[in-house]
Symmetry: C3
Subunit: 210 residues, 3 copies
């Protein structure tokens, strides 16, 4: 089952990456690189942190072929209809939820504590986008207070999954519940524009780190 | 002893990260992410480069809990008094010195040459801040010539530690000496604003890398 | 032979890094850091992804000493003559080609598929520059459509190497052929300013990732 989930998550991440790269008017190499980074960076960090080898995209080399073909198609298409972009939030939320649950599951399997597992779930679910933003030279939207809840949805979904699994429920139930919580929370946050309150600036006289 | 040192270093790094994130007016997720990155990125690179598993913050999962609580408290506080920020240089220099010595010590244990060990000490001591700056979308202050000596202090402190240890002195003496050199040099550099001279620009006609 | 190739690639990468850092008017610490990152980042990612330990620059610690001395010399030199910079494309293309072929060779040795091996070749050959650009806070030139072919040359050269090796030719022939293709294609792209066409922007109404 994790197999199918991971494939879906890669598809969702790559789709988002392709569209982001096109907005920055990149050529095929840029489109493929950004799609590759967004689809694989979170899971790669997870695998490196947990010392899982070979990396998931080296083991399942069809993932990279899929991202390659997707980027090729997207670079050739003259124009992506904006109706497609409006639906983009769906695979994005799905990808985040899927990667989060898989990440937390792999971490707990590797024997980490539940708190660490939930953090690794969030890293897997959200850091593809963070690194994609850094590479495109913008402050990651994840860190900006004006964006609706994102990492928070991932974090809560991971805990739902971890707690349900801990109680001895069948894994499939825990996975579906955790994933659903991620996705439903995310859509609710988008729909009603729920944000965490921003910290007030510490002090204007703050000395720059030197 | 390394245990206590590492805990102090994590505390210092997280404190700096929380204050940096607040200056960028981030919400709780941003504050936690930046604090987490600054406290753990240098040590994570060291562990990955030396193939030490599990990573130090996965092994000692109380570190992540501490950073979490610290971020929560900092996000709730209405305003951080500027007197706190003025004292920030103390934990910052301590954190840099502590991580540097621990990093160099772990590297030499893993059998690297002394030069590589000193470099890994500098990476451990300073790269949390570098990656934090990159994530906040500014050129790392470490690389700007207008900042007082920072990596240089770490580098010299690592060599003091490595050479004393090489002579067969007790480890605790070498650690304290290396740490003191890092911290004292850093404060001296801040006090008298000591900078390395900037390289003059190579040539205005330099062709962009393409 | 790989030994000599890697040494040449490190030299080329470090030279490019030193010149880039000087253009940003960095001091010695900045120059060394950027040179170090550009020379070692691609190969470090390759080694981490393939779980090769110790990392190539920890094993061959003379590489780091070379980069250190080169940075020291470059920081002391009053001015780098622009004629040197005009010749910079030569070691840059050589470094890219050398790292690409070595990266693809190590990957195929580690048992990856050929497609993954070609991607790891491109990562090894080009990501030093990408990470260097990110650290200097600019969108990596690799991703900008206005730059002549770069990753594409690396990709094609890797495939030439992989296919020739697959046919059972002597390794040295495959290496030289792959390297030559990288370098010749790169010079041709620079000479006639060959670029991939940019993707047209998807749609102006694209909703920001939140």
């Amino acid at each position: 089952m994790f197999q199918l989930i991971e494939l879906l998550a890669v598809l969702a991440g790559a789709t988002y990456g392709v569209l982001l790269a096109r907005r920055h008017r990149m050529d095929f190499v840029g489109v493929f690189s950004v799609a590759f980074i967004i689809a694989f960076a979170g899971g790669t960090l997870r695998d490196l942190f947990l010392d899982r080898h070979p990396l998931f995209w080296i083991k399942h080399d069809e993932y990279a072929v899929i991202v390659f073909v997707l980027s090729l198609v997207a670079s050739v298409l003259p124009r992506i209809p904006s109706s497609v972009e409006r639906w983009l939030a769906v695979p994005d939320a799905l990808g985040m939820g899927l990667f989060s649950v898989v990440g937390a599951g792999f971490a707990i399997e590797a024997g980490t504590s539940m708190f660490i597992a939930s953090l690794l779930g969030v890293v897997t679910g959200t850091f593809g986008g963070v690194i994609g933003d850094v590479v495109c030279n913008q402050i990651p939207s994840l860190f900006r207070p004006s964006t609706p809840l994102y990492a928070t949805c991932s974090f809560i979904g991971c805990w739902v999954f971890l707690l349900l699994q801990f109680t001895g429920l069948e894994e499939v139930v825990a996975v579906v519940a955790g994933l659903s919580v991620c996705v439903v929370l995310r859509f609710a946050a988008l729909r009603w524009n729920v944000c965490l309150p921003a910290a007030k600036s510490g002090s204007e006289t703050a000395t720059e780190k030197t």
